[in-house]
Subunit: 164 residues, 2 copies
Amino acid sequence: MNKQAFQNLYPEELSHCFGCGKNNAEGHQLKSFWQHIDKENILDSTTVAHYQPDEKYTAMPGFVYGGMIASLIDCHGTGSAAAMAYLAQNREMGSLPALRFVTGALNVSYLAPTPQGVELELIGRFSELKERKIIVDISLSANDVICAKGQVIAVLMPKSMLNN
Amino acid sequence: MNKQAFQNLYPEELSHCFGCGKNNAEGHQLKSFWQHIDKENILDSTTVAHYQPDEKYTAMPGFVYGGMIASLIDCHGTGSAAAMAYLAQNREMGSLPALRFVTGALNVSYLAPTPQGVELELIGRFSELKERKIIVDISLSANDVICAKGQVIAVLMPKSMLNN
């Protein structure tokens, strides 16, 4: 099992994302990992990330703002999708040609206020796997209570995003 | 027509949101306004906000990251919902008791990469209005091209968020 963070294996030129790029010094630098890999049925594999937002990312005093929660779910989703694409092709993550996913759609349900000052846990599960489209369902919990659920419809990065 | 930003009329103690709170010096401080108010059919009223994200909020070089887009849609949605709630009750925005909305669910479809270095425009429309639940549909455009569409299901703030 690869214990490197998915985001550390993105191509250098695609590692600037504010949410998760290792080359964005001011960003969140979210790190996602396999929680477990199910070789028998890869869709049953799960991913995990932990993150404690800075106090400035407040909604109301004491609670994390919704944009941060959406951002964490988004980046954990696209990272999990890339990892799954490599797994499905039985390729080492990071090998070329790169498989990098972007968000086609992001849906977040806020179930409970997310407390600040606590490490948040994101768990990713997979509900659809196609070559160019992977759906990741994500729960975000604090102190073992699920505060938000999200779904990321991740699509293989279009070439148009490489033109700049 | 009130030309003050909705977010400037939030109660002081509820103005810390990283996305739109005037009391969060490090945050985005999004400002939303009525674009037009339709007194005959208030649901046909629309809201508008303009925002140019800092260069650090990148996805791939040249494009705005998805978490920022989700955050702008989220805050424009809850702001628009609060303004609509006051309008529906024929009350001056900011008058007490405060009507402050939080996000129950946020859905974003990313239609095209959002370019950096451009002022983004968010337009809010209303598709449902109840006392405790308002649905706002939002388009986000750059250079007159819609880059993302979102829906915010906004709910009247629960008292539990005031206890901290």
